[in-house]
Subunit: 195 residues, 2 copies
């Protein structure tokens, strides 16, 4: 009963995280039956985002200008730099309300099995960022997974060699969980208890 354009839409929707075949079909049917303007707007929004959303020159988070609003905010404490794996992790920390410093977003985390080493996650850029600015403390907020811990270890070693103080979010964040999914109170406390 379907055709190539409808099948293609279902396939494309399945590339979204957390969307299986049935969800993708329901989404496609909903858009075609009840919200064709919404489909057009989503197509337009996707194109605009792919075109305009780049990475901040200073912290590498998503930004539509050369330097993001957080990096440009004079109310931020420039002596503190928090290292996260993804913009989603940064957003989770922002929402916790417990942090007023700046950020550095890695390009993922170490994963030797996938051939992803310190070079690939942007350690050199992090060290350059720490070197050029008034950073007193680096809060390493990578995930508390094996790969996140390995990343944190590599960063802490590199910073120690340069005489820069580094801390880690306090225990309190459940081991093995993704930062993005931790509740905000736990995140706020973990920021306070950083060691």
């Amino acid at each position: 009963m379907s055709g190539p354009a409808l099948d293609g839409l279902v396939e494309a929707l399945r590339r979204l995280p957390g969307v299986g075949l049935k969800s993708a079909q329901r989404m496609a049917y909903h858009l075609l039956q009840h919200d064709r303007p919404g489909a057009g707007e989503l197509a337009q929004a996707l194109r605009a985002a792919v075109e305009r959303v780049r990475h901040c020159e200073r912290c590498h988070t998503f930004s539509e200008s050369a330097v993001c609003a957080t990096c440009r905010d004079p109310a931020r404490d420039a002596s503190l730099l928090c290292v996260v794996e993804t913009p989603a992790d940064q957003l989770a920390l922002e929402r916790s309300g417990g942090y007023r410093g700046l950020y550095f977003v890695l390009m993922g985390r170490l994963s030797p099995l996938d051939g992803i080493g310190v070079r690939d996650i942007g350690l050199a850029q992090l060290l350059q960022r720490v070197g050029e600015a008034s950073v007193v403390e680096v809060v390493v907020a990578t995930s508390f997974t094996a790969e996140g811990e390995a990343t944190a270890h590599a960063i802490a070693e590199a910073l120690r060699a340069r005489g820069v103080r580094s801390t880690r979010l306090a225990r309190g964040v459940p081991v093995g969980s993704e930062l993005e999914h931790v509740d905000l109170g736990t995140l706020a406390q973990a920021l306070n208890d950083r060691r």
Copy 2:
């Protein structure tokens, strides 16, 4: 930390059924961080579907040609016509494997509170379709909700006045549930037991 293009993408994704703010953010971040080609393909697939997916002239289901593949299939039993509320309901019945007749897809269901009457759901087109073809029995497979039952009642009355036999899916489909979400075995049995 975000900008208008990223915010716009999150807003557009929230229009998808079952997608809240957090899911939309996760989807947007995933596409921008890990799957920009996927974002472009989804935009293209949305445009293609909106442009090419129309409704079959005979049964009103989604079709990319004037008459859909089901209506054109000579192996289908043209003496049986199954009336459903949506293409999703049609797909669910097809998957049950219990039906080899043709379909007629209504434009929704009766909803007096929303001002949706028999005219709006396509009853006239259904009667025309029944009149012009070799239809012996109409299987009314609207949902077993108050509105779906009211729709079924209106259809059965109109068909009786024209001397056309109509049946309803057997009890067995849980009352109050949406057809789309019923398990396939129950659907197949309900088709067999239609009365």
